[in-house]
Symmetry: C2
Subunit: 384 residues, 2 copies
Amino acid sequence: MSYKIPFNKPHITSKETEYILQAVESGKISGDGMFTKKCHDFFEKRYGFQKCLLTTSCTDALEMAAILINIKPGDEVIMPSYTFVSTANAFVLRGASIVFCDSRPDHPGMDEEKIEELITAKTKAIVPVHYAGVACDMDKIMKLANQYRLFVVEDAAQAIDSYYTFPDGTRKALGGIGHLAAFSFHETKNLQCGEGGMLVINDPQFNNRAEIIREKGTNRSAFFRGEVDKYGWVDVGSSFLPSELNAAFLFAQLESLDVIQEGRKRIWTFYYDNLKKADKAGIKMPVLPKYATNNFHMFYVLCKSLEQRSLLINKLKSSDILSVFHYQSLHKSSFWEIENKVYELNNSDFYSDSLLRLPFYFTLSESDQNLIVNTILDSLNLSD
Amino acid sequence: MSYKIPFNKPHITSKETEYILQAVESGKISGDGMFTKKCHDFFEKRYGFQKCLLTTSCTDALEMAAILINIKPGDEVIMPSYTFVSTANAFVLRGASIVFCDSRPDHPGMDEEKIEELITAKTKAIVPVHYAGVACDMDKIMKLANQYRLFVVEDAAQAIDSYYTFPDGTRKALGGIGHLAAFSFHETKNLQCGEGGMLVINDPQFNNRAEIIREKGTNRSAFFRGEVDKYGWVDVGSSFLPSELNAAFLFAQLESLDVIQEGRKRIWTFYYDNLKKADKAGIKMPVLPKYATNNFHMFYVLCKSLEQRSLLINKLKSSDILSVFHYQSLHKSSFWEIENKVYELNNSDFYSDSLLRLPFYFTLSESDQNLIVNTILDSLNLSD
């Protein structure tokens, strides 16, 4: 089914196909060619990440993280229930037991105050998810991790070009704070290449092994740098590296990052300014904690109930506009039922039922946004 | 380092970038869009595969296979030692113990006569690798699998457009015989999209779960077909599906398959006809068992010794030509040392030391081939 105003549209900035042709002409379209290198350099310089490795998806970056921190059967990993399945599956695939934390009352991110009570002797890692690109309280999370000697893997799928300010005023890019972090360049993200992701390594102890794991468990990268005489099978691993086709496409987007972000800011602000009055119908606008920045990844509202959300989705549909809900609490999934662990995570369930995402893409026009806003206000009997 | 005649060059047939632009204009560049569907349809129709699913790599297709046949710690999987690390790692990641089989005396494929003695009560699967696109003796392998109730996963990375003829005269495409099969569309393959692969499912018992595992462990595909009311987390899984950018690129190549194969046949035949005389220096040409076809994936010769091979590689290098050896026996890798299982696999070691791959790509010219052939014959003092 297609809509006059879809939920998402991928976009081309200008040079995507030109760069793809350059990759073909360079004689290399498999992974780790010149465009992959350009992307790595861009992210490392712009955000101060210690080391970046493009992957075929954010899922794959999370799987690399799970291998790197040596997750074994029985290890516990704490994460929000209100997240994408891959946050959990990446660790389940290595045998981890997932321990779910509730969301914050004011924001879908995990409630930092509820993490400590979930830590046991088996806990190996905390995986904060920066929902909508809005930072979790990383100061609190990193302090807990230091205290209990845990790894922190930031699920920064939605969080490119967003920042966290520590209590002492230091500002760091999201994805640059935990030991490891995973980004997504899926077509719904600010920067995109269809399917794609990136592992960020902030703790250099993981640098060498990350290269090996990404190269199918071989020391091929060290070989090409002349550090070893021959290369071979030295570890587990997979083919986590993306094609140069994807890296070339992504690099064109990086060059337009500021333009993209400016456009997304305009779209986000228009929604925010024009939908504020929906609070009269019990609808809440997104909240930005003072330590966080907005990267304009998505625009969502919180309906007062599942019924209200369904009403809005249906009204928008009848105007040929696709709006969508987002995650369903993972602790309520049928996969989780077999674990037989009962959770009561009321905030997570609230976001499952009430969060509504509106169409959001770089080329969304103001007239289309006007139609969306008016349809919502009409449905709530709030039109001027 | 780049060479005047490299070992490989990717190629564009004609429509690759046009199709990529079409994908962007269609509003979908993430996975499972119209080009992925076109690729699936093409392969299913042309080769009679029951169900095809594009993946981000052949490695990922093998990992899907390992999950689908429920590999658990302790399960044994039989495969050749002369293969790519991913053949093994895909199963090692699920906890399997790898059992290595020697290669045939006449061909790098696994020796079908040596499989049965490796089967134990713990054996779960046999993974034949169709080296250079040349079939393993699938009749023998499938009979063993039936007798001992084992799964067969064909590693068909190099084997697109190649066939096996059963003793009764039935001919089947490689990848269409085992329960599951994995193909590669890496830039060195006949059909390419930089990095890419495909899982082929010949046993329909795996159809539903394969879709779920590929969609991050969710029943999203069934949801979009209207088979379930809502979708959620139902299984383990990963993000195995490639971007439409890659599928669009690949589909352009599929449309040119016959042209590509014709070109590769010409290149292969030129090498074969002009290098036959190297037998005077103890160099052997590739052998094609009578049940197999040639898909012209690569051209290799077997040198009489490691020394002779090194001589040829160096002589070619000094003429600015890159030739390469291939796999090192996995049972001799440093990763395998920790297993403390000693193998004597003389044929596998022979191919590790003696097999030499010559430059092979669609746009390789006859004059370049002449230079390669003459450099080899000169080095062996066999020039006319």
